[in-house]
Every structure is written in structure tokens, then in C-alpha cells.
Amino acid sequence: MHLSKTNITLAFTSVVVAATLGFSESSYAVPSFARQTGMACQACHTVFPELTPFGRSFKLNGYQIDNLPQVAGITSSKNYELLLNQLPPLSMMFQVSYTSTSKALPDSVVGGADAQNGQVLFPQQASLFYAGRIAQGLGAFIQMTYSSDSGSFGWDNTDIRYARQMPLADDALTLGVTLNNNPTVQDVWNSTPAWQTPFDQRTSAAPTPGAAAMIDGGLADRGVAGASVYAWWKNSIYAEFGLYRSSPQGVGGSAGAGPLDSSTPGGVLTSNAPYWRLAYERQWDRNALSFGTYGVVAKISPEGQPAGPPSDRFRDVALDGQYQYLGDEHIFSLQSTYIKEDMTLDASSVLSGTNPTNNLKTFRLAGTYFYQRTYGGSLGYFSTSGSSDAAFYPVEPVFGFANGSPDSKGWIAEVDYVPWENVKLLAQYTAYSKFNGASSNYDGSGRNASDNNTMYLLAWLAY
């Protein structure tokens, strides 16, 4: 996450920021779809939230398959003017978590004292979903989430899409358009940031590395809205292009929703940010292999600054790949992505004395195995590195950086038990060999990378 100097203190000394990162990167499966289609979760998910080839097809075709009695209205030419479930496809999600770090965080008020280590969040998040068809060709995944960190409800992952299928060269071509609030939330492969298995499910109650690319959750935190068009052919070739704009909620406070400006807490996209995605998938027998590229170019005014020029420019170019084996007894998947971000800090370099340019590289690789969709686990590696910039990545207790370096790396190991298709119990351990620039004393206050090693227990219910 990139922050200008003016807000660095506020942002990095607040556990709320860590909470927000976790909040925006969470992801869910929805029994709404099961209610609508009459199909079990396993049709669309290996184990939620990872999608199967059928789940990808269902999403790209606008969440259309519907096996409920309908309220319908047709025209004289037999076109459906209304096709509405008699019962709305609603569902709930409830998460309870326990988080402890290797070493307690310092007390936020009393120097030398520690905060309580071992935080229970009840709930960590609770969500209400509407997920399913709205009209013929039009469907939505809409999530409203209560987060105990903020103590309030807010809009979470949202993807509203319209899609049409047509025959082309003996196969199906799907053309669609999606409106959504986070680049890659509309994506159907679990190798892109919004849904990357198993990195999408992290605690909100422990420090997490402070540097991440815009496409890697950065824009979701700022509140954006995007529209993109896509094509999907032969269950194989996918192309998408879209534009994102700032759309933070609650801007303007009591004055109402005025034009976005320096009062916006997350910085403002000063213009349309183009987003692209190309992917190729090959399916054979029980296997699916995909690889692709995605990226965004975002111009952002630093927080607390007017939306006019100059602005900082972030260009993210990423590669990703996924392999899935979907057996009856054994399911295995592998996901990886590499993101390179080039920053041109025309605004921050003048305002805050940052470097005129920076770069940031992120790599993640993880494998997940499940036996009978019940017992499973994941093992993943993550690494972020980039150019050093003491003004962009300042020293700060717990959340600060050593030598202005954004480098972090480590491992994540997870054990899962899925007693029912819609309940997941997991224990996850994250080990850092480097955190915000160093292995030891990274924050200048004596905290080591391994002090942030995190044990996270989660009970995740979707119903």
C-alpha cells in the first residue's frame, strides 16, 4: 500500500490499516448460488472459495443458471421481460477468528507495556449476500459486510455483470460487461489478487507487510468503481478491458457526497485507470491449466492533496498461472502470480521528498491439497521487494520500514477441515523471514520480522 508522507504516520501507526487490508482482501463462497441453482457447492468450488471450471463458466455467464420457480413476464415475441426467483438468492456468512503473534504488539498508550496477545474477533466479519440472477443475462454478486474492526457495515466485494452467449465456430462465445469495486474481484482464476488461494484469507488482527501494489488490494482500499467488457471463447481464451475511477463512500461527511478532493481518506484516482486481463486455459480430463497477464495504470493524488495535477502514477504489470487437478478423492491446485509495479511519483516527490521513481515486485506461489473435499491444507511462499525510499517507506514502531526498504518475505502454512461443504475450519501460520525491509529490528524499535509470525484460527460459516 502506498501512502504519501502526510498520512504515513496516521496510516502506519493504526492497527485499523492492517484490519482494512484484511477486510478488503477477504473472499467468500455463497450459498445463494447453491439455492438458486439447486447444485451443491462442489459444482462451482473445489473447496470454497476456489472455483472449478464449471464455477468459472457460471460466473462469466452472468450467474444465470437458475432452477427455482420463477415469477416471469414475457412479451408477445416471447422475450422475458421479467424472470425473477420467487425466493431471493440471499445468504449469510459469519467468521470467528483468533489471532496471536509471536510477540505481543506494544501498548498503544503506555510505553514499554504490551497489548493483549491473542485476539478474538466475534465476528471478524459477518456478511449478507445477494448473489444470483437479476434478469435474463444480468446477475450479481453483492456483499455487504459488518467488520468488527470498524464496527460498521460497508460494501464489500461487488460484481454486477451482464453476459450473452452465442455460438461461434462450433463452440460458445460469451460476451459480457461487469461493474465492480476492485480490479480482479471479477476474475475467475484464483491466481489473481482478490481471490488468490490461500492468501485471500488472512487475519485482520496482526501486522501485515506494508508495501503492496495497487492491483494487489491497493485500489480496493481506496474505494474504486470500474466497468469492463470481456469475451470468453471455447472455455479457453479470455480477454477483458476496463476502466476504474475513484468512488469512495462517505466522502464529504455531513456536507454530502461532493466532488472527490483532498478530504478523501484514501487518495483519489485522478483519471480513468485502464485495466486489462488476458488468459488462456486448457482443460484435459480432470486437469485445468491456465496462465495469463493482468494489470492497471493508476494515477493517484496523494492523500490530503487536491485531485488536480500533479499526481503519482502506478503502472502494474502482472503474470499469473494456475493448475488444478479435480479428482473424486484428491484435489490439488497450484497458483502463482508475479506483479511488477513502476511508480512515477511526480506529486509525492515534490510534496514529501520521495524518490521520483520507485519499483515494487511481488511474487506468490502456493499449493493446496484436499482429500475428499474435507481434509486439506496449503503451503505458500510470498516475497515483495523493491527500491528503497526512506520518505515513501518511513521508520515507525511496528508498521515502519528499515532503511526505507519495502522488502518482505515468508511462508504461509494452512491446515483445513471442512466438515460440511459450507463450513471451513482452518489454522494458518505465517512466518516472516523479512518484514518491511529487515529480519531484525526492522522498525527501529527493536521488533524483529519473526515477532510478527502469526497463528490464525478461523471458523468460517456460510449459510
Partner: protein
């Protein structure tokens, strides 16, 4: 996109309770392409052995199975997970059209199998397993495993799918239709014999 006004007015005028869109779809080809093909592949020639190939299947068999899904009398795990929902709102006309559509599709090519395995499977298919009270499959499923009415076509089917169905018949997890017949037959088969006959059929 039409305006909200245009959507709502005729809708209010014509609104009524109906079956799902799937049941109402009159074009079996469109339905097969836009819905069924997600799992069963274009023209019913599925890629994944999780899902049976339907191309060239006997129409009476397909009809019987779809009705068994709809009536929830076929209750194996995959039937419950996938097909109970998919068939729940289908009317008889849609079922008939879909069955006719898939029966008319060109079957997928068989997949070469280990010759020794396939040879042992061929013997089972044509002669049964006399000592185990397993009759010859050819009697009902036809000389070329093309099927006959409610006895399904087996030629070119995924081997893994066939093994799984035989196991389901044996354990009586698959019910409905001709399942009682197949339960009695498969009881005398070992897993290896199921693998052999399936390899032979998949190669045809």
C-alpha cells in the same frame, strides 16, 4: 439495455408464476450449448471424466435418467450435487427434446487403452464372468456397446466414469431406473474387472 420503465410495465402486466427458465426453453440446442455444455462439453462430448459423455446416447435412457433426477429417485452423490437441481424444474417436453438432441450428436472418439487390459475387458463384456454370476454385458448393451433403449450406450464413455458407476451400482448408492439389475450384476465384479471392462468400452 432497456429502460427500467420498459422492463417493469410489461412485466407487471404479464407477470405470473412459472417454472424456471430452463424448463421454459424451447430450443434444446441452445439449452445444451448454454447450460449443459459447461460440464458435458460441446455436443455432449465432455472433457472431464467427472461428467459422462452424452453424445449419441440412447434417448430413452437419457429421458429416464433426467426424470429420475427430477424425481430424486437416482440418488448417487454426483446426481444429488449436480443433477437434482438442474433437472428439478424441467418439464417432460424439455426432457424429451434434450434427450433427442443428445441422441442425435456424433459420439466422441474412443480413447486408446492398454491392449492387455482392453482384451480382458472385451472377454468380460462379451462372455461375462461365469464363476461370479456376471452375465455378458453385450446382451443388453449391444454388440458395439451402442446401447438399446433404456440400456445406455457405453462405447466411448470415460473409463473413470464407468468404473465409478459400477462401484456405485455395487454399493447400491446409485438407485433408480435399471439400477437394481446393475446392482445384482456388479456385485460379482472386482474393482480390477470393472477397470478392465471400462477400459475396453472407453476405447471403442
Amino acid at each position: 439495455m432497456k429502460t427500467r420503465f420498459m422492463i417493469l410495465l410489461p412485466a407487471l402486466a404479464l407477470a405470473g408464476v412459472s417454472a424456471s427458465a430452463i424448463a421454459q426453453d424451447s430450443d434444446a440446442g441452445t439449452l445444451a450449448r448454454e447450460v449443459c455444455a459447461s460440464c458435458h462439453g460441446p455436443g455432449g462430448r465432455s472433457i472431464s471424466s467427472t461428467f459422462p459423455r452424452l453424445a449419441g446416447q440412447q434417448a430413452p435412457y437419457l429421458e429416464a435418467q433426467l426424470k429420475a433426477f427430477r424425481g430424486r429417485t437416482r440418488g448417487d452423490p454426483m446426481a444429488q450435487a449436480y443433477m437434482w437441481g438442474m433437472a428439478s424444474q424441467m418439464d417432460d417436453g424439455t426432457i424429451e427434446k434434450l434427450a433427442t438432441y443428445y441422441a442425435a450428436q456424433q459420439p466422441a472418439h474412443g480413447r486408446a487403452a492398454d491392449p492387455k487390459l482392453a482384451q480382458r475387458g472385451k472377454v468380460i463384456y462379451e462372455s461375462g464372468i461365469p464363476g461370479a454370476n456376471v452375465p455378458a454385458c453385450v446382451t443388453c448393451h449391444g454388440k458395439n456397446a451402442e446401447g438399446n433403449s433404456t440400456f445406455p450406450r457405453l462405447a466411448g464413455q470415460h473409463a473413470e466414469y464407468l468404473v465409478k458407476q459400477l462401484s456405485l451400482f455395487k454399493s447400491a448408492l446409485r438407485s433408480g431406473g435399471n439400477a437394481p439389475i446393475m446392482h445384482n450384476i456388479s456385485e460379482g465384479m472386482t474393482f480390477d474387472q470393472m477397470t478392465e471392462v471400462s477400459a475396453y468400452l472407453a476405447s471403442k
